[in-house]
Amino acid sequence: MISRRHFSSGFAIVLATGCEKKNDQEIVVGGYFSLSGPDSTFGNDSKEGIELATEEVNAAGGIKGKKIRLVVEDDKSTTQEASQKVRQLIDRDKVVAVLGEVASSRSLAGGLVANQAKIPMLTPSSSAIEVTQGREWVFRTSYTDDLQGRALARFVKDELKKTKVGIFYVAQDTYSSGLAKTFREAFKKLGGEIVVDKGYQKGETNYRTYLSELKAANPEAIFVPNYYGDMVLIARQAKEIGIPGSMFVGGDGWVSSNLLEGAGAELEGAHFTNPYAPDVPWPSSKKFNDAYKAKYKREPPAFAAQGYDGARVLYDAIARAPQVTPEAIRKALTETKDFQGATGTITFDAERNAEKAIVVVMVKDKKFTFKTQLDPR
């Protein structure tokens, strides 16, 4: 049964076509995202934000008198396709820079190709620390899990004033167990106590046994760094067992309208960290929010805000670079400082990661509302 996955995704063949036409009137920028497959909402949200940024820049006359042409490829939510699409963007489309992905596993795969080809890549959303580590050509405009885990620990300890906490995470998931690890260490360092610490099987749907055990340990808050799909089920079953939703704290994997549809009522009063909230009180966010709503007729999801920022930071670097070459763009990117984006102020550190504030979102009346912001430390 396990082998079926390989059957479905192993047969793609990449044909490098010798297409050499070059148009001097445009700058070609590539993107690769999960436009189909299980993570399709991540990819499509990001793409909308990037398209909005591109439209704005082109409407204002483009960069150095040239229009930006955006080529976004679908990696079907798989790592194999991710590296193939990046290869294709570089070889066939001759892009000067690449934007992508959301999932860290796919950013790692695509980043390997971009880094070898010496084409700057910028991920707007991947948070695993390894994505940019040792890769001179890979940048990230989102915060890292490290930063997020530490911020969460401070939030639970200092703002929620909870000292006895339970942790419940996905044992086989890099994002989830990584975030649990940083949180665990930071929280203990702050003087807090972890009263119960439980990993669960990836893909699990029946959480009752776990939840009973969590409840029996009497924690004041439960930290659950997982994705929204699992969280809906956990919240529903927790209610059945008698754990209130307000006890839960999570990371940015929670952010999806699906969480509110599936368990908005059950999670009333729960908190999680995120790069963005529609009602975040920053002026640059307000501008983005209005533009997004005018174009797509809905509240911007966080991935759209991140995609928008990723693209704006890249275009800003291209505009500052003396020539439109991958080397010059890379250099300009490293010099990005205090860029006012929709998700906060972006400055790259020496590891090419953005140092920026993290937003804490609260579930209130089946809506995501801005609670507070945590500065990077």
């Binding site: 049964m1 086989q172 439980k198 669960y200 029946n206 046994t209």
Partner: protein, 301 residues
């Protein structure tokens, strides 16, 4: 207390796995084919169940929506099961007498599974959809808390298993199935219309998967195109563990898997449920290669 609760949860969980495992084992019994598309029939019927339940009013009208949704999902699954068999498996039957007799339908089954999964993604999108909460009550059984949906699962599973036992042992269809399983050619010579019996087996197995799917979603899962993989894997393991081809074996395998799974969750290896489950499978197969109840002499259906 924790252990007792985990045991009860494990039994209900196992009962649900068994409902799906029955489909694998029955088809294997008559065709010696592992129907990989079974988990996709499960997934598709979960979608149909959701649509019908929503159309019938959802949580505002729980009884009608629940029963209507379950029955339509089962009907749909039967039709889908028969269609899959008719389109993908029947044309291959009896075509080759070489070593490929087993391999070709197996690959077709894999293909069918991928096809259905992608079709669902195309038709319904990859979005996660929750079932409306039809049964939200919790029963208190002398200190043990149990949601009413779990009790319903348990009761349904017991009823289904008893009914299945009667069908297989006492009816014309069951007798034909067993005959087919023992020797297809002889069964045909005795006047059994094998194609019809095979189609009926697919219909029965698929409708049980649909029943399992609706219960599973009401109790604990959301609906999305790849949802069949998780429970499908476990059900398949349950069928093999119990002895594939044996109906009682599938039930036993399901229960064992459910209970082991829940007990593991209480230990420090709580994140490795699947590791333990597969370990048990390997150990059992080393000792009894045909599975717990699947000896060569046992009655196969």
């Amino acid at each position: 207390m924790n252990v007792l609760e985990a045991l009860i949860t494990g039994v209900t969980q196992g009962a649900m796995i068994a409902l799906v495992a029955l489909g694998y084992t029955m088809v294997y019994g008559v065709l010696k084919l592992i129907n990989f598309a079974h988990s996709e029939v499960f997934m598709m019927s979960a979608f149909i169940g959701l649509f019908v339940i929503t159309a019938l009013g959802g949580a505002a009208n729980p009884l009608l929506a629940g029963i209507g949704g379950t029955l339509s999902a089962m009907l749909f699954a039967s039709a889908l099961g028969i269609t899959v068999e008719r389109l993908a498996y029947r044309p291959l039957r009896g075509r080759t007498k070489s070593a490929l007799t087993r391999i070709t339908p197996l690959v077709t089954a894999l293909g069918m599974s991928v096809l259905l999964q992608n079709l669902a993604q195309l038709l319904f999108s990859a979005r996660f959809r929750p079932y409306p909460p039809l049964m939200s009550g919790t029963l208190d059984l002398g200190g043990l808390r149990m949601s009413s949906s779990r009790l319903l699962i348990l009761v349904t599973a017991v009823v289904v298993m008893v009914a299945l036992e009667i069908i297989v042992k006492r009816t014309w269809f069951g007798k034909a199935m067993r005959a087919l399983s023992a020797n297809e050619e002889a069964a045909r010579l005795m006047g059994i219309r094998t194609s019809r019996v095979i189609a009926m087996t697919f219909a029965l197995g698929s409708s049980l998967a649909a029943l399992g799917a609706v219960l599973y979603c009401l109790d604990q899962s959301q609906v999305y195109p790849t949802m069949g993989v998780v429970i499908g894997t476990r059900a398949f393991v349950a069928a093999v563990l119990g002895g594939i081809g044996s109906i009682t074996g599938a039930m036993l395998g399901g229960l064992l898997l459910g209970i082991i799974g829940e007990l593991v969750k209480l230990t420090d290896y709580s994140g490795g449920v699947d590791v333990l489950v597969f370990l048990v499978l390997i150990v059992v197969l080393l000792v009894r290669p045909a599975g717990l109840l699947g000896s060569a002499r046992a009655e196969k259906v």
